[in-house]
Each structure stands twice: as structure tokens, then as C-alpha cells.
């Protein structure tokens, strides 16, 4: 039983220490921001790539080389920028 009491006081001390450190712990969120930063770049590129590939496939279907590919390249770019805006908005909401 003495062991248990000892544990309780140790827990209390540890919790108090944790409270003191909780301000410093906010730094931990930086890592998730870094994750978001990594995210933005690929988000932009991926949409452009997907748009261009869709345009390429449609071109092969309708025999309209290269017009649909060019059109969908621009649509993909728009989608990419939209994605980045969405992610940025989500990041702002977190604050």
C-alpha cells in the first residue's frame, strides 16, 4: 500500500511538471505545420499531372490531339491552385 501512495505522490509531481512544460509542448505542433508544408507542393503538382493525363486519354479517344490535353492542363492547374487554397484554409482554421 505504501508503494501505491508513493506512486500517487510521484504522479502528482509528474503532472505538475507536465503542466509547467505544457507551454513548451506547443512547439510540437510545428511538426504538423511542417507536414502541411510538405503537403502543399505535391497537391499542386498532382492535380496538374492528373489533368494532363485525363486530357491525353480523351485526346486519344476523340482524335483531337493536342487540344484537349492543353485545355485539361489548364483545368488541372486551376484544380491544383484550388487544392492549395483548400489546404491553406484548413491550416488557418486550426489556429
Amino acid at each position: 500500500m505504501a508503494d501505491f501512495k508513493d506512486f500517487k505522490t510521484r504522479l502528482k509531481i509528474a503532472k505538475e511538471k507536465l503542466k509547467k512544460h505544457s507551454n513548451n509542448l506547443n512547439n510540437k505542433e510545428n511538426s504538423s505545420f511542417m507536414g502541411s508544408a510538405f503537403k502543399l507542393g505535391t497537391e499542386l503538382v498532382a492535380a496538374v499531372a492528373v489533368g494532363t493525363i485525363i486530357g491525353f486519354i480523351l485526346d486519344n479517344w476523340f482524335d483531337t490531339k493536342p487540344w484537349l490535353m492543353i485545355f485539361f492542363f489548364f483545368l488541372g492547374s486551376v484544380a491544383g491552385i484550388l487544392n492549395v487554397i483548400k489546404v491553406a484554409k484548413r491550416m488557418q482554421e486550426k489556429d
Binding site: 511538426s31 507536414g35 510538405f38 503537403k39 497537391e43 498532382a46 492528373v50 491544383g80 484550388l82
Partner: protein, 244 residues
Amino acid sequence: MATNPMYQFQVHRIGPEIKIAGFDLSFTNASLFMLLSATAICVTLFLGTKEKNIIPDKLQLISEMFYNFIAKMINDTAGSKAKPYFPFIFSLFMFVLFCNMLGMIPYSFTVTSHIIVTLLMAIFIFIAVTIIGFLKHGFGYLKLFVPSGVPIVLLPLITVIEIISYLSRPVSLSVRLFANMMAGHTMLKVFGGFVISLGMLGGWLPLGFSVALTGLEILVAFLQAYVFAILTCIYLNDALNLHH
């Protein structure tokens, strides 16, 4: 051969060649490391949860930390409705994390540095999320592609853009993980090569870089597993709680 920085990404067969119905199903070093990480996860979690002490030992602490981390992440990003998908996201996170971390051991193989592995996981998530969305909302899920408050003239254009943006999800999800892992490991190898070629005189600077990069790579290995899991949660959130 071994000085080639891309050599580390080569898949080669271990043991006999197995061919079933024209497909090469041989056991490779990639399969070996997938198996190793799956085993490592099972062993860590099994040993960690075997004894449930009030004062946890290291393994129990790690297991509980992972559990809490993922549970909190799912709750924060996708809400309580996403609770049933916890096992899937937890296994996904652990698998990516352990593959990344095992890849940090010298002479090992990084499974996640291959686009086929990451793309397969991303496409699986993409299809699963789409099916979940349609199951929960029926054809109302298509509203995801039609944002409210858009003038009718622009609607066809916006819808196409939204569809492209939706289709780009698996690509960005897989390319991010694969590119980060591959770039990091190539860079480590290149700097390692500099140490050898510059010798005792000039090799110290790239050696220092190598040490710093190793630290950075471990951070990236964790971060990418985290980003992979949190994006899965975000996509799941879109499918479960439809709002625009």
C-alpha cells in the same frame, strides 16, 4: 555497383523463382522488408499490451502512445463517426511508419520508396473512401463536386475542376510519400559517397552533413507516415460528414 546511389532501390529475388499464372510472385527483398515491418509491429504491440501495468514499461508506453496519438488524430480530424475505421488507419500508419523507420537502418531496403507500394495503398484508400461516401449519402455524395453558390454558367467548368481535384488525391498522397523517401535516401547515399571520394582531407564536411541528414530523414520518416494517416482521415471526413 554499390556506389550507385540508386542501387539501394533495386528489387531482387531472394530464394527460388515462383511463377503463378504468368505473374512473377517470387519472394524479393521488398517482400522481406514488408514482412519484417509487419512482424515488428505485431511483436511491439503484442509485448507492449501483454502486461497492463499502472506504471508502464517502455514498450507499453510506446504502444499506448501510438494508440492515443492515432485515436486523438481521428477524433480531431474526422469526428466520432470515424471511430469504426480506427483499426484500418492505425494499421496503415504503423505499417508506413515501420517501413520508413526500417529503411533508415543501413543496408536495409525502404519499401515506401517505391511508387507501386504507395500508389497501391493510396488507390485502395481512394476507392474505399469513395465507396463509403456513396454508401453513406447515396447519390448525394456527388454534391461534393458541385459547390454551393456558384453561378450556373460556371457550374460545368467548376464541376470538371472539382473532379480533377478529387482524382488527384491518390496521386498526391502516393507521390508525396514515395518522393520524400526516395529523395532522402538518395541524398544520404550521395553524401556518403562524397565522404569516401574526398577521403581523410575533405571528407569531414559531407560526413557532418550525412549525420545531420540522417536526423532529418528520421523526422521525415515519421512525418510522412503522420501525413499519410492524417490525409486518410481528412478524406474519410469528407466522405462521412458531407458539407460544403
